[in-house]
């Protein structure tokens, strides 16, 4: 039903009807507005294991475009971009190394991105988002479980973790591809503080 056709009709009844039709349409259009990321309360952290020593770090700069409505989670969309050069482990020599071509090659591939292509509700506050993770120009399909804890005032905290294999993205080439020293599995943990989330 196209509400614009109705507005061409004359008479109060037709106008009222068209308003009534238009209103839900507007609601639907607004059902998944862009949520805003609160960067200072959000974090993308990764944990790598080096000789079984967990070594963790964060990406200090990242942004997220997220549309999510708890009432219709399957319409949710997320696009995250991390500035790989903002990598911080508190170990300057490691940070310098990791920007080099054998690792992230941040000069050539400054951003790591995740673009969702579907969200599934798993019950409660649990969801799963499928999408494409691109690091160092290499894309892989991944699924990421997360919880979205609603807070007052349309705020919410999205948290989750997933594990990638660094060699799938050619992170750590050459001598670094030795997984006895730096394990292939790298865990990524994220905590995204969102505001302006649509409620049901």
């Amino acid at each position: 039903m196209n509400p614009y056709d109705r507005t061409t009709m004359t008479g109060k009844g037709a106008l009222l009807r068209s308003c009534l039709t238009l209103f839900p349409a507007l609601l639907i259009a607004h059902s998944a507005p862009a949520a805003q990321l609160v960067p200072e309360k959000s974090e993308i952290r990764f944990v790598a294991k080096q000789m079984n020593v967990p070594v963790d770090g964060v990406f200090k700069k990242f942004k997220a475009d997220i549309n999510f409505n708890g009432g219709a989670p399957e319409t949710g969309k997320a696009q995250l971009t991390a500035d790989v050069a903002s990598f911080d482990m508190g170990l300057p020599d490691v940070e310098a190394e990791v920007k080099r071509p054998a690792w992230f090659d941040s000069a050539k591939f400054p951003a790591a991105t995740f673009v969702s292509n579907g969200v599934k509700a798993l019950g409660g506050n649990k969801y799963e988002v499928a999408g494409k993770l691109t690091i160092k120009g290499i894309s892989r399909d991944i699924t990421v479980p997360f919880t979205l804890t609603p807070q007052s005032g349309g705020n919410g905290l999205a948290e989750g973790a997933f594990t990638i294999k660094r060699l799938d993205y050619r992170i750590g080439e050459g001598t670094w591809s030795d997984t006895d020293t730096v394990a292939n599995e790298v865990q990524v943990r994220f905590k995204l503080q969102l505001t302006g989330l649509a409620t049901k």
């Binding site: 080096q50 000789m51 079984n52 020593v53 508190g90 030795d178 006895d180 020293t181 730096v182």
Partner: protein, 186 residues
């Protein structure tokens, strides 16, 4: 042996601990010297892990050793030694015991302050003694290094004194700490 409370030789346990710890310290010290300015590589990370495992091993053996020493008095020093030599021996032995306990802890502290957990033998995660803190890490690095060179200097004096006892004084001070050798008759 007239005085039963002061044996003429160190016990076999004390001798074993002395030489095992000495060898492991030599390995750990050499590795530390070699690895610290290598460019970052998987090999360097391995060396750092090994160095930490060595340090923790030294600490554990040093605890055993000190406990053993407290329970088993050392043989008396030869009567021919002058007072200053006796004092020097007591002080240097005391410092050696303190350093082999303290140096591993400064390394562990340095690792914690650098934000890198120590996982003994890649199996046992040890608690972080302090939280990550760059200025503290830099200070602890200096402390760890300085104490190691202090240890090295005392070890050189210790070995030189032992050789002097053996070759010049011709007493049994060296031999009583040697494995597989009988003491010279007094």
């Amino acid at each position: 042996m007239s005085d039963t409370s002061r044996p003429s030789r160190y016990t076999r346990t004390a001798i074993s601990l002395h030489w095992i710890i000495a060898l492991i310290i030599l390995a750990g010290f050499s590795l530390g010297l070699y690895m610290h300015d290598l460019p970052l590589s998987p090999q360097k990370l391995k060396y750092y892990s090994w160095h930490k495992w060595i340090g923790i091993t030294i600490f554990l053996l040093a605890v055993l050793r000190v406990a053993w020493r407290l329970a088993h008095p050392a043989p008396a020093l030869p009567a021919t030694m002058s007072l200053w030599q006796r004092k020097a021996a007591v002080v240097s032995h005391g410092l050696l015991y303190v350093l082999i306990l303290v140096i591993p802890i400064t390394g562990w502290l340095y690792s914690s302050a650098s934000g890198v957990k120590v996982v003994y033998l890649g199996l046992v995660p040890l608690p972080d003694l302090v939280s990550a803190n760059k200025p503290l890490a830099a200070a602890l690095k200096l402390v760890h290094k300085t104490l190691n060179f202090t240890l090295a200097a005392i070890v050189v004096m210790h070995a030189a004194a032992a050789l002097k006892h053996h070759l010049i004084d011709r007493d049994d001070v060296l031999v009583r700490m040697l494995p597989f050798v009988k003491s010279r008759s007094r």
